[in-house]
Amino acid sequence: MVDIGDATPVRAWQRRLILILLLAPALLWLFALIVLPHVQLALLSLRERVAPHVYQPSLAQFHTFFAEPLYWQVFVRTALLSIVATALTLLVAFPIAWVITKVARGRASALLFVVCLIPFWVSETVRALGWLILLRESGVLPALLVKLGLTAVPVELLYHDATILTGLVYTSLLFMVVPLVSSLESLDNSLIEAAYDLGASGFATLKNIVIPHAAPGITAGCIVVFMLTLGNYLTPNLLGGKNSQWFTELIYTQFIVRFNWEQGAAFGFLLLGLSTAIVAVGLRLSGQRFVDVMRRS
């Protein structure tokens, strides 16, 4: 708060009013665009159509989810693949962040960062379509494999789980690199040198010095990437094709193709619950607190 001085004493209620007014746009935005629609979705998910224009409260939508093995299988599959994708993204992003902060100097480091950023100048759709061109049977990579004599005929590289994972890691890489860079930057190089001086191996230094220091950044990156992946619609759909089975697709289908908003809303809440639960478990396992993670990232 600005101290205006003794001449014009700001009374407590005025101060509170200013605070409220300053927060008002954000609160209004939160309430109108996030809370209200969710309340409506919650109400939708808890009713069932019994006849045209006649609805009654019921848990039928959630019952359908558990009764039809397909739906919860896709649900579990989406969760597992998202976790795998997050882990892979971390594995790929960590060396990149390390090189940017600790190995490269000055302009080289800035340049590397820009290289990570450039793919994000085009939209996600275009990037996914780029992968399509590279991987389809009549595409670039299969033709290259044939030319190199690795395969006799062009193989279809699309529509596999591995393709989906590749696409997901690619799309979310930046969101892992940024928090990692910011947390590694604050790590004093002399600490690493001290560890080596005291005879620690590379692995021991990583485990005892680097990772504990970067933990909030790692956790923040993982949370962001996990949520983006779990809620991604485009990449699994385009690269997974007939086998994608991503939970967001089921939600889209229920809303848009089947006009079954009740079922779609129920699926949406199940996904919300899932992501909350997994993030909570992840925080517990890594011993981090959500507030700290968000502040440090």
Binding site: H53, E68, S138, K242, L250, F259
Partner: protein, 354 residues
């Protein structure tokens, strides 16, 4: 407080500014891509002073958008005729046609009769026919031959066929199994059993499918590159490919092609009915209708256009349907509400099958 008042005032000004836009001078149409050629819209504006605003969509999205707003946002929609009465009964998204405003003599009577039969609810007609066509099989005869939908699942076509993971595919394979799904619409038990069977057939067939296509271009490209050699598709797609590559042909399956018809329908909260009726009368004029048909490649419901349309296309049509359109086509009847939820579960299972 002052900012609040200013904000409210600004909002008020913006809103009143919007409502001052003259609704009688613009026509907001939600339709399929290509359905409104730019030159036709320009000529309409020159003649009437009404500016056409287009939103491109498909059946499901069209209905979802209207559903979300209770039928507001558009002055004219073009869903398929089987999507009219079920949606109307369930959500009330359309307004009945005022036939005194329409030049009915411009329509082909046999097609108008089909739409009347399918899109009438409680004695009121909710749609008028615009364009129609059929869906059957497209085959690259250089590589293989097919004669019915079931052939897409033949062992020698593994990984080389395509179809949509949508209800037409369920209907097609139901017909191919020798049953008539349309006759079972009113018998939910028997219908569900039939759909279960079709779902099993399709799940077993999945390894034959290279991809389930979502849009026309995706399939056309697959056929052009030879990645797909046989597919379930609309007639015009087949004829388009046929003009590029004579090996690719549209085949009417033994168990019949499926007939679709896209309509004009008035959204419940449309703001320019007069403009919509003028547009309908305009696009059904023989010269304009023939131009649309030439451009879009689908058949118009307007009469007196036979000599005006592309004669290659007419020849292709006559070659595919030697008995005429109304003998070889199964027309989709109105979909009863609730049916799609049932079919949806089957389609989801097919998608999940390995």
């Amino acid at each position: 407080m002052r900012t609040l008042i200013a904000g409210v005032l600004a909002l008020f000004l913006v809103l009143s500014g919007c409502s001052r836009l003259d609704n009688s001078k613009r026509l907001r149409i939600i339709t399929w891509s290509d359905y409104v050629p730019a030159d036709v819209a320009a000529e309409f504006e020159k003649e009437t002073g009404i500016h056409v605003e287009l939103t491109l969509s498909n059946n499901e999205e069209m209905i979802s958008k209207l559903h979300a707003t209770g039928g507001a946002g558009y002055d004219l929609a073009q869903p398929s005729q089987d999507r009219i009465t079920g949606v109307q009964r369930e959500f009330g998204l359309y307004r009945p046609m005022d036939l005194s405003q329409v030049k009915l003599e411009q329509f082909r009577p046999e097609i108008l009769a089909i739409t009347r039969r399918i899109a009438t609810l409680d004695g009121k007609l909710y749609a008028l026919p615009y364009l129609w066509g059929s869906e059957g099989l497209v085959v690259n005869s250089k590589y293989t031959t097919v004669s019915d939908y079931g052939d897409l699942c033949r062992a020698d076509l593994k990984g080389k066929t395509s179809m949509r993971l949508r209800r037409p595919t369920l209907m097609a394979f139901a017909f191919a199994s020798g049953k008539d799904p349309f006759a079972l619409y009113d018998n939910p038990k028997a219908y569900e059993a039939l759909m279960e069977d079709v779902g099993k057939t399709l799940s077993a067939c999945k390894s034959n499918v290279r991809f389930f296509f979502d849009n026309r271009d995706q399939l056309l490209n697959g056929m052009r590159s030879g990645e797909v050699v046989a597919a379930m598709m609309w007639d015009t797609g087949g004829w388009t490919l046929n003009r590029e590559n004579p090996d690719i042909r549209y085949v009417v399956p033994k168990s019949g092609a499926l007939g679709w018809l896209d309509t004009f329908a008035l959204p419940y909260k449309g703001r320019n009915d007069a403009g919509a009726y003028r547009w309908i009368n305009f696009t059904m004029r023989p010269d304009i209708a023939a131009r649309i048909t030439r451009k879009v490649g689908n058949w118009t419901a307007a009469r007196g256009t036979e000599e005006l349309v592309d004669q290659t296309m007419r020849a292709q049509f006559n070659a595919s349907f030697p008995g005429g359109a109304f003998s070889g086509i199964n027309w989709y009847p109105a979909i009863p509400a609730g049916l799609e939820a049932q079919e949806g579960r089957i389609l989801d299972r097919v998608k999940a099958a390995n």
